[in-house]
Amino acid sequence: MAEENFLTDEFLRQLINVGEVDILVGLPTHNNAKTIGSIVQTIQSGILRGFPRERAVIINADGGSRDGTPELVTGVSIDDVRPASNLGALRTLHSISTRYSSNSSSANGVAFRTILAAADLLRAKACVVMSPESANIEPEWIAKLLRPVYNDGIDLVTPTYRRHKFEGLLITNLLYPMIRALYGLRIREAFSPEFGFSGRFGNQFLGQNVWNDGVEGAGIELRFTLAAITGKCRISQSFLGEKDRIERHAVDLVPALRQTVGTLFSALEPDFPVWSVVTGSQPASTAGSEQEVLLEPLRVNRKRLREMFLSGISELESVFQSILSAATLAELQQIAQLGEEEFHYPAQLWVRTVYEFAASYRKSVINRDHIIQALAPLFRGRVTTFVKENRSASEDEVESNIERLCLEFEQQKPYLLEIWKSKE
């Protein structure tokens, strides 16, 4: 059994009262009073529909909400759900809330660790973590994420979504292709606030030494996915549906880069023995559609994106000199000279840029957080080109463009290995 000293006595007492469970739903919250009531109801409804005979518990790990979020979680009665959905559970559905004190950077990690520890103590067979902000969550999401774990012995179920072609560009232009090229598995949403996992894998991850290495907060979900890949666990994907956009707008670029790219770069060093021997990539088994793309018109300020790229290239030259090779920097400066219509940040150069950033991150050529921040203007340049290329593209064309980028990441992997091993 893993270390559970960080759990409060009251929380432990509540867990002991529950006993053992089959299903555990983890709900990390922090000031989510606006959405949490309906989300808990949807979760309860999902459990009643999908797992009426199983012993289930909802664990709310709250980071010190001041808007009454924990009270709302525990206050939602299963009786509110039953009449509406005409469903009945054969077992008691428990809802437990615990508070932890944590600074904002490690809040995610503490919440997730609490959920994992609770799953361990309750000997949960299948667990799911749900986002407290998803306004359009459906009861079916619970079963879609839990059933492969509970019935088929899958260790990790990551979601896929229906999203606009210009949403989640950090995922489609960096995270997905790079993870695919390096770790050899095509997981579309390696960083997601919703995912299902087995109690066995959760327990295994809880015992790993990831909680004290400084990255436990930001990007713990990605760390979890990468641990499943490197641990050769059984992984699958489930198509959930359309993801709420309002939640996504709240994420700014630099914090998003820290959570995703920072976590990925920091994982590359310990995972080197695994990814350095991988060639090519394999598809992950997927229930439902792998990815659906919305094509509705969306205004994008490409001019501003390009201006921020140009500003980065001119103002951060000294920083880029420490991170990038002279040839790459020269090419970036060349494309910065192009006019608005001719501007093009090619995939080949983007991949080389990302790989050089990864190698520099490993060598800590400058402060690692500064390396991640320096990637932001370059990412904006890449987004400018991606938006331009896919402005009038169909769903298939968008997918084909993403696939080409993925293959570019795979083809240039030997270059990453080369600069990774070089001393300078």
Binding site: E167, V251, A256, T260, N301, M308, S311, L316, V383
Partner: protein, 234 residues
């Protein structure tokens, strides 16, 4: 008379010879100290150089911006500079110990002063190095934050942060060394005050519109500016 002169002369020569005989061993001791000091200093230099290379001190110095300063002044690397500095301080220290043995009046006091000054010199160097490191780190952090926030003149902001920190560090270093304390204090006060006044005037007059726009954006709930964040990265 002649005998008297010869007697006085021989007595004087005898005294000189006696004095010289008394002094010569001390000189020899001092020379031995000098040779021993050179050996100790050389060993210290080699050990320090190896340790600094092992901990990649040059890299740290590069990050602090110290390497660039040394390079511009056509000086060797930070590791080499520090190794040489330790070599000379050690050798000089041991030589001065040897000189102390000579028993020359007044010199002992100066030697004691030199040894009392050494800790302050090291502290000053320590402050200088980490001050440069902090200046470099914070100015780069400012530059990146300003670029990513799309603020005007990021490099000016970054340079201002670096300059303020360096001026502050220099004033502490001079105070630690006890060099022109009053002058430095007054100079720092004037420079810092002038800088703040200049910034206040510049922002007050030059940035009036900018401040207005900033406050409007913060205080007035108006039309949301179209920006790239509407494209959620995640």
């Amino acid at each position: 008379m002649r005998e008297m002169i010869i007697s006085e002369l021989s007595e004087a020569l005898h005294e000189i010879a006696k004095g010289f005989a008394h002094f010569l061993p001390r000189v020899l001791v001092m020379l031995i100290f000098a040779v021993l000091g050179w050996l100790i200093a050389s060993v210290a230099k080699v050990i320090l150089r190896s340790v600094l290379r092992l901990v990649k001190f040059d890299k740290l110095s590069e990050n602090a911006g110290a390497s660039q300063l040394l390079s511009k002044a056509a000086l060797p690397s930070a590791t080499e500079m520090l190794s040489r500095f330790v070599f000379w301080v050690t050798w000089l220290g041991v030589i001065l110990l040897g000189v102390n043995v000579l028993g020359i009046f007044g010199l002992q006091e100066q030697v004691a002063k030199f040894f009392l000054f050494l800790p302050r010199l090291f502290v000053a160097m320590f402050i200088m190095f980490f001050g440069l490191l902090a200046a470099s780190f914070l100015s780069r952090a400012t530059l990146l934050a300003a670029v990513n926030a799309n603020m005007p003149s990021p490099r000016v902001l970054s340079l201002a942060v670096r300059s303020i920190i360096i001026v502050f560090v220099l004033s502490i270093v001079f105070e630690e060394l006890g060099l022109a304390e009053q002058t430095m204090l007054v100079a720092f006060g004037i420079a810092f005050g002038a800088l703040m006044l200049g910034l206040a005037i510049a922002f007050g007059i030059g940035g009036r519109d900018l401040a207005q726009r900033f406050l409007e954006k913060r205080m007035v709930r108006g039309k949301k500016e179209e920006n790239e964040d509407e494209l959620s990265p995640l």
